[in-house]
């Protein structure tokens, strides 16, 4: 994947607050992922419109961190979720 890709959560994949464990979780077919603060921040921005570059830039300004540090982590995180079938990417 590259920064130009536009990812989104497909049907059947959703985030939910787990009231018992007090964490955000990502639920999908046969998969549960417990999200940390960064995971929640990234997934909350997968709207099917923003590219990964735009998402990294946004996170960079919100968390006041250099974009070249954030961007590779964001791509790696989303790519791993794509390989698990939890994220889809709009065809370019």
């Amino acid at each position: 994947m590259t920064g130009a890709d536009v990812p989104f959560l497909p049907r059947g994949v959703r985030t939910q607050f787990d009231a018992v464990r007090k964490v955000d979780v990502l639920l999908g077919p046969e998969r549960v992922l417990v999200l940390d603060q960064v995971g929640t921040a990234v997934l909350g921005r997968l709207d099917g419109v923003a590219s990964l570059d735009q998402i990294s830039a946004d996170l960079s300004s919100v968390y006041d961190a250099p974009v070249d540090v954030i961007a590779p982590d964001v791509i790696a995180f989303v790519e791993d979720l794509r390989d698990k079938g939890m994220v889809h990417v709009h065809p370019r």
């Binding site: 639920l27 077919p29 390989d83 990417v89």
Partner: protein, 361 residues
């Protein structure tokens, strides 16, 4: 020593044992529960609520064939209302277009469709149901049109393991997002047919290569989960990810089990949702605490570096093969029970014709 018990993540609800198919590898018990003993709609709905409150996130609606329950749509609606991610595990038989649309409206999250073979001849023979394959293909098309995320659950064994490449192609053709290549695990009725179902080592080696190639080639297109035939493994599966650690199972009459096959262990005592709260069953039930954690494991396992990886393996397998549920899983190469498993393999896996299947009829 006290064991830290976390809330469960997943619950398998076996809504019914009724099923139009008669697969020789069925892992349900040899004695099935009758319709009259099944929990009511309200009892299931209440169990779903209790499960969500307990911490369950994912609900798998299974059977038998869950579509044999006339109240399936109501049950899905109740599960979603409780906040559960709801997965339907089905053969497709009994699902009409109208019913699938109703399930969509009820909020069903995911469909797992079983596959008995890639041709009508094979599938209908294995399922023991003529015309089943054609109906399944029709159901798959409707599932795809509605847009449900689809997992194809291909149960593989001696007769169809060589069709694995065609099976993966079929998952792509049906628009599945995920395929579960599940080599038969020997529990329940499947034990009756073990010799007929057990693949050969050559078949297993070829299948592993096919899977490894497909995982690479289809990355990002199809998720592939492979459950190997564990008699050929060196180490046991981490069954249930550890007894009483992650998941629970409710049978059609409301009996709550630490795993699907736990009733094969004769000395265990089980609670039912009709008599006790799910919360108390999970934390205090005798059966759940019987093999929880690792303190109960024999000395051999205590000193093993894999102790916290596979937790001594599958209790029901130790029971089935060795007659002792507290022994290390006989799949383990380090365990004394491995000899018995090797003897079974040597005796049952012959190059010549496999024995005929015994169907559940």
């Amino acid at each position: 020593m006290s064991i830290r018990v976390d809330p469960p993540m997943a619950m398998l609800a076996e809504l019914t044992h009724r099923c139009p198919l008669a697969c020789p590898y069925c892992s349900n018990p040899t004695e099935l529960l009758a319709k009259e003993t099944e929990l009511s709609t309200e009892a299931w709905a209440d169990t779903f609520k209790q499960a969500a409150k307990l911490g369950v996130l994912q609900l798998h609606l299974s059977g038998g064939e869950p579509a044999s329950r006339r109240d399936l749509v109501e049950l899905v609606a109740a599960a979603r209302e409780a906040g559960l991610y709801t997965n339907l595990i089905t053969s497709g038989i009994g699902l009409t277009e109208r019913r699938l649309h109703a399930l969509d409206e009820a909020g069903l999250d995911h469909v797992q469709l079983s596959l008995q073979g890639v041709t009508a001849a094979m599938a209908d023979r294995i399922g023991g149901y003529k015309g089943g394959f054609d109906r399944k293909m029709h159901v798959a098309e409707i599932i795809s049109n509605i847009g449900f995320p689809l997992t194809l659950n291909a149960v593989m064994h001696r007769e169809n393991l060589d069709d694995l490449p065609a099976t993966i192609d079929m998952a792509l053709r049906l628009g599945a997002r995920r395929i579960e290549i599940a080599c038969v695990q020997f529990q329940g009725w499947a034990l009756v047919n073990r010799a007929a179902l057990q693949p050969s080592r050559a078949q297993v080696d070829a299948a592993k290569k096919t899977v490894a190639r497909a995982v690479e080639a289809l990355r990002g297109r199809l998720v592939i989960d492979f459950v190997p035939p564990d008699y050929y493994s060196d180490f046991p599966k981490a069954c249930m990810n550890g007894w009483g650690s992650t998941g629970l199972n409710v049978t059609p009459n409301g009996t709550v089990l630490p795993c699907h096959a736990a009733e094969t262990i004769p000395h265990l005592q089980f609670d039912t949702v009709t008599e006790r709260k799910l919360y108390d069953i999970w934390y205090d039930g005798a059966a759940f605490n019987a093999y929880r954690g690792t303190d109960w494991l024999p000395e051999l396992c205590q000193g093993c570096e894999r102790r916290d990886i596979d937790f001594g393996g599958c209790r029901c397998q130790a029971m089935a093969v060795l007659g002792d549920a507290s022994a290390p899983d006989p799949v383990c190469r380090k365990s004394p029970g491995r000899k018995a498993l090797n003897a079974l393999l040597a005796e049952e896996v012959q190059e010549v014709e496999a024995p005929e299947f015994v169907f559940r009829r």
